[in-house]
C-alpha cells in the first residue's frame, strides 16, 4: 500500500554524526529535560523565575491537564503502534482502557493489592484481551476487521457496565489513593514526576521494538502483507503480538486514568473515547511515535487554550461572542472535526509529515 498517510521508511546508513552535531544534540536534550523538570513548578506556582504569570500567559493550562495529557499519550502511542506501524485499524481502544480500569478495580479496590501490582495486572489482562480481540484478524481483513474491533468494544463496555452495577452503583467505580511504597501520589506534582518517566519508558520501548527484526517485519506486513509472508514473516503471530503489546499499554493507561480520576463510570469509555485516539494519531501522523505525542498534546490542550481565548472573544459583540460563550464545547468539537478533515485532505502525514517536509526544505543536502 503506497500511501502518503504512513511515514516512509528512510534508509540512511548509521554513521556517527560529527562531534559538534552531537554536542548540539546533547545540549538540546539537556534543555528539554530542564524544561520538563521546571514546567510543573511554573504551572503549580503560576510564576516563572520569580515573575507572576497570568492565566492567559500560561495558556489557561494547569498541571492536572498535563497529567491527563501524558496518560492520553500512552493511549495514542499504543494505538499508533498498532494502526500506524502494524497497519491494524482499531476502533476498540476505549475497550482496552476499560479493561485496565476494570482490572484495577478488581485487583486494587476489591482485593486491596498495591498500586504497582494493579498496574501490572492491568497490563497482563490487557494483553490477554488484546489477543482475544485480535483473533478475528486471523480470518478477516481491512474493513471487516475494523468492524470486529467495534463489536469487541461493545462487548467489553457491556461487561464493564454489568460489573459496575453489580459491585458498585451509578456513581461509578472508586479507586484507592495510589502510592508507590512510601511515595503517595496525592498531588498533581507527584503524579507528574511519576508519569513523565512512564511515558518516556513506553516511548523508548515502542521505539526500540520497531527497530528489532520483528518491528521491521511488522512494518513490512503493514506495507505489503503478501510480500512480508513471502519473506518468511508469520503475519498471524505478528499481528497477535502487536495487538497484545499495544493493548497491554492501553490497558495500563486505562488503569492509570482510573487511579488519576479516582472514580470511573462505564460512560467514560464510550465510542467517542476510542475515536479521540484515532484523531490524535491522525493529527500527529500515522506511523510516527513522536507524532502521537504531539497529537495527544494538541487534542488534550487545545480545548483549554481555546477556552482561554474565550474571555477576550466574549467582549466582542455579535454572534461570534455568543458562539464563544454559549457553545464553547460544540465550537471546540467543530474546530477539531474540521481540523481532522483538513489534515486528512491536505496533509495526510499529520504534524510529523509537515515536520519532515519542513526539514527537507531547510536542509541543503537533501534538496532535490
Amino acid at each position: 500500500m503506497s500511501d502518503a498517510l504512513y511515514s516512509k521508511p528512510r534508509i540512511v546508513a548509521r554513521v556517527a554524526p560529527p562531534l559538534n552535531v552531537r554536542l548540539w544534540r546533547l545540549l538540546g536534550v539537556a534543555l528539554a529535560l530542564a524544561f520538563l523538570a521546571y514546567l510543573p513548578f511554573v504551572l503549580a506556582h503560576r510564576s516563572a523565575f520569580g515573575f507572576r504569570l497570568t492565566n492567559a500567559e500560561l495558556l489557561n493550562l494547569g498541571l492536572s491537564q498535563i497529567n491527563l495529557m501524558m496518560i492520553a499519550m500512552l493511549g495514542a502511542l499504543s494505538l499508533n503502534y498498532l494502526t500506524g506501524c502494524a497497519g491494524l485499524i482499531s476502533i476498540g481502544h476505549a475497550a482496552f482502557y476499560a479493561t485496565g480500569a476494570m482490572t484495577a478495580a478488581i485487583v486494587g479496590t476489591q482485593w486491596g493489592w498495591p498500586f504497582p501490582l494493579a498496574l501490572a495486572a492491568a497490563a497482563v489482562t490487557g494483553a490477554l484481551v488484546g489477543i482475544i480481540a485480535g483473533l478475528p484478524s486471523l480470518r478477516v481483513r481491512g474493513l471487516y476487521f475494523v468492524l470486529s474491533t467495534l463489536a469487541v468494544h461493545h462487548v467489553v463496555i457491556f461487561v464493564f457496565l454489568e460489573y459496575q452495577f453489580r459491585y458498585f452503583d451509578v456513581v461509578g467505580v472508586p479507586y484507592d489513593p495510589p502510592r508507590l511504597g512510601s511515595y503517595a501520589l496525592n498531588t498533581s506534582m507527584r503524579w507528574y514526576f511519576f508519569l513523565l518517566p512512564v511515558v518516556a519508558l513506553v516511548y523508548w520501548g515502542f521505539k526500540n521494538s520497531l527497530g528489532t527484526r520483528e518491528g521491521r517485519a511488522m512494518r513490512a506486513m503493514r506495507d505489503h502483507e503478501l510480500a512480508a509472508t513471502a519473506a518468511g514473516v508469520d503475519v498471524r503471530v505478528l499481528r497477535l503480538k502487536a495487538f497484545a503489546f499495544s493493548s497491554a499499554i492501553a490497558s495500563m493507561a486505562g488503569a492509570l486514568q482510573a487511579y488519576f480520576m479516582s472514580n470511573v463510570t462505564s460512560e467514560a469509555f464510550g465510542l467517542d473515547f476510542a475515536i479521540q485516539f484515532i484523531a490524535m494519531i491522525i493529527i500527529g501522523g500515522l506511523g510516527s511515535l513522536g507524532g502521537s505525542l504531539v497529537g495527544a498534546a494538541i487534542w488534550l490542550l487545545a480545548p483549554s487554550i481555546i477556552s482561554g481565548l474565550a474571555p477576550q472573544g466574549g467582549d466582542a459583540s455579535g454572534w461570534m461572542g455568543t458562539l464563544l460563550v454559549e457553545h464553547k464545547p460544540q465550537l471546540v468539537q467543530a474546530a477539531f472535526g474540521v481540523l481532522i478533515i483538513l489534515l486528512l485532505i491536505f496533509a495526510p502525514g499529520g504534524v510529523a509529515g509537515l515536520g519532515r517536509k519542513l526539514k527537507a526544505m531547510l536542509s541543503p543536502q537533501r534538496a532535490r
Binding site: S148, H154, A279, F336, G337
Partner: protein, 288 residues
Amino acid sequence: MLAQVVFSGLALGSIYGLVALGFAVVFKATEVFNFAQGMLAVCGAYFAATAISIFGWPFPLAIAFMAVAAIALGVAIHVLLIQPLAGRSMLAVIMVTIALSIVLRAVIEMIYGPQGRTLVTPLPNGVITLGSLRISELHLTAALVSWACMAIFAAFFRFTSVGLLMRATADSHEAAVVSGVNVNTMNRLAWGIGSLLAAIGGLFLGQLQIVSTDLESIGLLALPAVVIGGLQSIPGAVVGGLLVGLIEQVSASYISPKSTDIVIYTLLLLILLVRPWGLFGQRELGRV
C-alpha cells in the same frame, strides 16, 4: 406478547433497513464505509423539524424541503470530502466520515441547542387494536413508507437507465468509464440517494422519539445491519435491518433493555468470524 414484540421489531427494523439501504447504496458505489450515516438520519429529522416548526410550512412542502436538503447534503459530502480522498487508504476515508459526523453534531447543537425538539406531523398517531395485538399507527406508517421507498428504489435500480448505469458503475468503475459513463455523477447520485434514505429514516425515528442528536446511535444500528446482511448486497441490507430491529425488540423485552447492543454486536462478531461476507453477500475472492 411475542406477536407484539415481533411487530414493533419489524416496524423499527423497516426503518433501520431503510437507513441501511442508503448506506449500502453508498458503499456499493464508492466503497466508503460511512460512519456518518446515523448523523445523516439526524440531519434529515432536523431538516423536517426546521421546515415544520420554524418556517411553519405545510407538511408536504416540508417533506419536499427535507428531501432536497438531504440530497444536496449527500452530494456536497461527496464533492467536498470523498472525491479529494479518492485512492487513499481506508482509514483516511473512515476517519473523514467520523470527523464529518462530529462536525455535523456540533453544528446542529450550535444552531438548535443541545436539547431535543418534538416533531409535530399530521401522520396518524393512534392505535389499532387487533385482538390482543396493539398496533401503533405510526409504526405501521413507518413500516409501510419504508417498504414503499425500498420498492421504489429497487425498481429504480432495476428498470431505469440511470439505475442501470449506477449498477454498472458500482460493478466496475473502469468498465463504466470506458463505456462513457460519467462516474462522478453516478457516485454523487449514490451519495444523494444514501443521504435521502437516511433522512426519511430519521424523519420516522424523530417522530417515534424526539428529534435530538442522540438519534445518531439509533441510526448507527444500520452498520451491523448492513454487515449482517452482507456488505455488497442491497437486499441483504433490508433483511439485516429487519433482523436488527427484531433482535433489538426481542432482547429488550425478554433479556433486559441494556442487553440490546451486546446481543446485536455479538451476532455481528459471530457473522464476521463465520461468514464475513454476510448472509446475502457474495464471497469476495482475492486475486494475487
